[in-house]
Amino acid sequence: MNEQTRSIVIVGVGGQGILLASEILAQAAMLEGYDVKTNEVHGMAQRGGSVMAQIRYGKKVHSPLVARNEADILGALEKIEALRYADYLKPEGLAAVSTQAVMPVTVSSGGARYPENAEELLRQAFPRLLYIDAAKIASDLGDIRTANIVLLGAISQGLDLAEQSWEKAIILCVKEKFLEINRKAFAAGRCYS
C-alpha cells in the first residue's frame, strides 16, 4: 500500500459522465484496501455547467476536497475545462485531456470567445499531457457515451492500482448490458500513448 494520499480531479461539462468515472476510480482504490473519499456537485451546476469530481485515497484520508496544487492527476472531458482547473494539478502531475470542445452558451450566444489555440495552451500548461480523442475512440468502439471511461483508462496510467481492481470496479459500477463496451473503452484509454 502506498503511504502517500493520492488526489485526482476529473472535470468536464454536466452530463458527460464524470460521476461514473469517479465512482469506478473510488471503487478500485477501495478494493485495494485504501481509505477513500470523493466529492461531486449535484443540482444546478449539472445543467450543462462546468462540473468537477474529486477523489482522494490513501491510508487515512480526511478532506474529501483536493487542494490547489495537490492533484496527482487532472482528467478532463473537455479541453478548456482542463485549463479552468489547471491550478489543482501539481507541477509534475499528469493531465489526461480529451480533445473534445463543448461550446459554453456564453460563446454560442456570441458574447465570449472559445480559445482557438486551446491545444497550444494545454501543452504550455501541462508538461505531462496525455491528449486523447476519447470521443472518437469511444465512437469507434461503438458508443460515444463511453468517452468518460476511455478517459478513465488514460487516468489509470498515472495510478498504481492493479489491473484486476479496475476490472472488478467496472463490474461493480456498470450495468451488465454495458459491461463489454465499457471494458473495451477502459482498455483503449489505458494503453493509449
Binding site: E40, L83, S108
Partner: protein
C-alpha cells in the same frame, strides 16, 4: 469483518435511519438533501416514505408519526426549515414520542441555493439538540444516536449536514436494523400534546428543564471527543471543518463536536485549559466561537477563518499563515481562468421553459420568478427574470408590485412542484384581493432541478405507486381564478398570443404551460433540426434562444446534432426559413 460500503453522506443517513428502526420518512426535495429520502425509500416495505408538497407538511407528517410512537425523519435543505419553522418551534414544546430527527442540509458556498443560512442557529432557537456528522460513517452513526436521544428525552433533534458532508462519499460499516419495540398508538394526553396556554406554560418550563439534562448528556456523548496531540494549539471544530483542520494542523489537539448543541461547556473549559492557544474552526456563523467567548475563554477564530462561503484546505492554510503572523499566499487561480469563456448552467436543449422565456423577452413586462430550473431563465440571452425571493414568491410578489402601483404589467412565474409547494396561497390572495397579475405555471411534470422527483401533479409517489394526479387548472379555478388556460410551450405563436391576451385582460389569469421535461422522459421532443447553410442569412436570431445545441461560428450558426432535442423553437424563430428537420437516414 463488517460489510463496508462507499456511501455519500446522504446515503449513509438513509442507511442509519433504516438501522435505527425508522418507519416513516417525509420530505421535500432540495439540494443537497434530496438523496436522503430517495435512498430511505429503497428500504420499503420496512419504511414508508413520501414527498410531501412542502417542508412544513413533511415536518408535520413525521411529527404525527412520532406522536403515534413511530421513529420518523423529515428531510429538507436549509431554506426548507424556514418553511417548517412553525411546527419546529412548537414540536419542541409538545415533545415527541417515537424518535424524531429533522435532517437539514446546509449549502455553504451557495452551490445550489439562494442563501447561505446556518441551520445550527435553529437548534438553539428551538432549544433542541443538534448533531453534525463530518463524514458518511458519522452520518450513519449520528442519526442513530439522534433517534435514541430524541426518544429518551422526548425532543425533536436536528441533524445538520452541509453540501460536502451530504455529497462526499466515504466508507461506512453497515449493521443490522434494530426495530423499535414501541407499540403504535397515540396515548391520549391533552396536557402534553395541546399547547393551549394553560397547558403550554408548563411545557415551556419542561423545555428549559430538558435543555439542562441535554447539556449533561452532551458532556458525555461519544459524539463529542477530545483528541490530544501537541498541546501548543487546540482546535474546537465540527462538521466538515474538522476534516479540513486535520489536514492543515495534523499535530494540533482537537475538540471535535458531533453533538454540538447544547454545548458541552465543561468539556470546552477542560480542553481550553489543556492547550496554550485555542482556535475555533467553523463554517458560516461563529456559532461555537460566540459560546466559547461567552464562557470567558480566549480564542482565535473568525479573525482568521472566513465566515462567508465554504471553507477548504486552501482557506485554512491562509488562516494558518495569519495565525503564525505570516502573509497568506495569495491563492493563484488558474493562469488561464480569466481568459476562458465562463460556463454557467443553462436550460437544457429541448427545455419547455425556453419558449415561455423567449416569448416574454418580446414583451414589456416585469417578471417575478421563483426557485427551480426556470431560475436559469435569468441568464442572458433570455435574461427574463427580474426577481427571485423564495418558493412561491413569484406569485405573491407579482401581486405586491401591482398593489404598489408598479407601472409595468407584472407576470409571475412558478414551476409545477413549486406551485404545489407554496403557490396556491399566493394565487388565492390574488383572487381574493382583486389582483390582476398573470401567473404562468411552467408545468414540466416533475421536480426537475433536484433530479426529477414526483409531486402531487405527477400521479406517482415516492414509493413507486400510482396516485391521484392533482390538476393545477382545477386548483386555479377553485382559488377563484376565472381565466385559466393551458398552452404548449413549443408553439411560439400560440404562447405569444395567449400571454398577450392574458396580460391585457382586466382580471387575474393563470396560464399553465405544459410539456414534460425531456431530460426525465429521456426522449426527443421531435425531429432533430439543421440549418441549411445556403439559406442562412446569419442574422443569429436563433442564438437568442440560448440553446446549448446552437453554436455561433465564424461561418454562422450551426446546430450540434448530438445535443439537439428536436424542440423546433429555432425553426420557428428563423425569419429566413433556413432551419428544418433532419430527415431520417440523411447525413449532414
Amino acid at each position: 469483518m463488517a460489510l463496508r460500503r462507499l456511501m455519500s453522506g446522504n446515503e449513509a443517513l438513509a442507511r442509519g435511519a433504516f438501522e435505527a428502526g425508522v418507519t416513516v420518512g417525509a420530505g421535500y426535495p432540495g439540494t443537497p438533501s434530496t438523496e436522503i429520502l430517495e435512498n430511505l425509500a429503497l428500504y420499503k416495505p420496512d419504511v414508508y416514505c413520501e414527498w410531501s408538497p412542502n417542508e412544513k407538511v413533511a415536518f408535520e407528517v413525521a411529527a404525527g408519526a412520532s406522536l403515534a410512537g413511530a421513529r420518523s425523519i423529515v428531510t429538507m435543505k436549509h431554506v426548507g426549515l424556514n418553511v417548517a419553522a412553525d411546527p419546529l418551534m412548537t414540536l419542541s414544546y409538545i415533545s415527541v414520542e417515537g424518535g424524531f430527527v429533522a435532517c437539514v442540509a446546509d449549502d455553504p458556498g451557495m452551490h445550489s441555493s439562494q442563501n447561505e443560512q446556518d441551520t445550527r442557529n435553529y437548534a438553539r432557537f428551538a432549544k433542541i439538540p443538534l448533531f453534525e456528522p463530518s463524514d458518511s460513517q458519522e452520518a450513519c452513526d449520528f442519526i442513530k444516536m439522534a433517534i435514541e436521544v430524541s426518544e429518551q428525552f422526548k425532543t425533536p433533534v436536528i441533524l445538520r449536514t452541509t453540501t460536502r458532508v451530504s455529497h462526499s462519499r466515504s466508507l461506512v460499516e453497515l449493521s443490522e436494523r434494530k426495530p423499535s419495540g414501541k407499540k403504535i398508538g397515540l396515548a391520549k394526553n391533552p396536557p402534553r400534546f395541546v399547547p393551549i396556554p394553560v397547558w403550554g406554560r408548563p411545557m415551556r418550563q419542561r423545555v428549559e428543564d430538558r435543555l439542562i439534562r441535554l447539556k449533561a448528556l452532551s458532556e458525555s456523548s461519544p459524539a463529542n471527543r477530545m483528541e490530544w496531540r501537541n498541546r501548543d494549539l487546540g482546535i474546537i471544530t465540527s462538521s466538515i471543518s474538522y476534516q479540513y483542520a486535520r489536514e492543515v494542523w495534523p499535530e494540533a489537539s482537537v475538540l471535535k463536536l458531533g453533538m454540538s448543541y447544547p454545548f458541552p461547556e465543561a468539556m470546552m473549559r477542560e480542553f481550553a485549559a489543556g492547550v496554550s492557544n485555542l482556535l475555533v474552526v467553523e463554517e458560516l456563523d461563529d456559532f461555537i466561537e460566540q459560546h466559547v467567548r461567552a464562557l470567558g475563554l480566549a480564542c482565535r477564530g473568525r479573525d482568521v477563518v472566513p465566515g462567508i462561503m465554504e471553507l477548504s484546505v486552501d482557506r485554512l492554510l491562509a488562516a494558518k499563515a495569519l495565525l503564525e503572523g505570516k502573509t497568506p499566499q495569495v491563492s493563484m487561480p488558474s493562469a488561464y481562468g480569466g481568459r476562458l469563456p465562463p460556463r454557467p448552467p443553462v436550460l437544457c436543449p429541448g427545455c419547455p421553459h425556453r419558449g415561455i422565456f423567449y416569448a416574454l423577452s418580446k414583451k414589456k413586462v416585469l417578471v417575478t420568478g421563483d426557485i427551480g430550473c426556470y431560475s436559469l431563465g435569468a441568464f442572458p440571452p433570455l435574461d427574463r427574470m427580474d426577481s427571485i425571493l423564495c418558493m412561491g414568491a413569484g406569485i405573491s410578489m407579482a401581486h405586491g408590485l401591482e398593489k404598489a402601483g408598479e407601472p409595468s404589467k407584472v407576470v409571475g412565474i412558478v414551476g409545477d412542484s413549486t406551485f404545489f409547494h407554496s403557490g396556491i396561497t399566493g394565487l388565492l390572495d390574488i383572487a381574493y384581493n382583486s389582483g390582476h397579475s398573470t401567473i404562468i405555471v411552467l408545468d414540466n411534470r416533475t421536480t426537475a432541478m433536484t433530479g426529477h422527483q414526483d409531486h402531487p401533479g405527477t400521479g406517482r409517489t415516492l414509493m413507486g405507486e400510482r396516485a391521484k394526479a392533482i390538476s393545477i387548472e382545477d386548483i386555479g379555478r377553485a382559488c377563484g381564478i376565472e381565466r385559466v388556460s393551458v398552452i404548449n410551450p413549443y408553439d411560439l405563436d400560440g404562447v405569444d398570443r395567449v400571454i398577450s391576451e392574458e396580460i391585457a385582460a382586466d382580471k387575474p389569469s393563470l396560464i399553465v404551460s405544459r410539456a414534460p421535461c425531456p431530460l426525465r422522459e429521456r426522449k426527443m421532443v421531435g425531429e432533430r433540426r439543421k440549418i441549411k447553410a445556403e439559406e442562412c442569412k446569419s442574422c443569429e436570431l436563433c442564438l437568442n434562444l440560448g440553446c446549448p445545441a446552437i453554436e455561433g461560428t465564424e461561418e454562422g450558426p450551426r446546430i450540434n446534432e448530438t445535443l439537439c432535442a428536436g424542440c423546433g423553437l429555432c425553426e420557428q424563430v428563423c425569419p429566413a426559413g433556413a432551419i428544418g428537420s433532419i430527415v431520417r437516414g440523411e447525413k449532414e
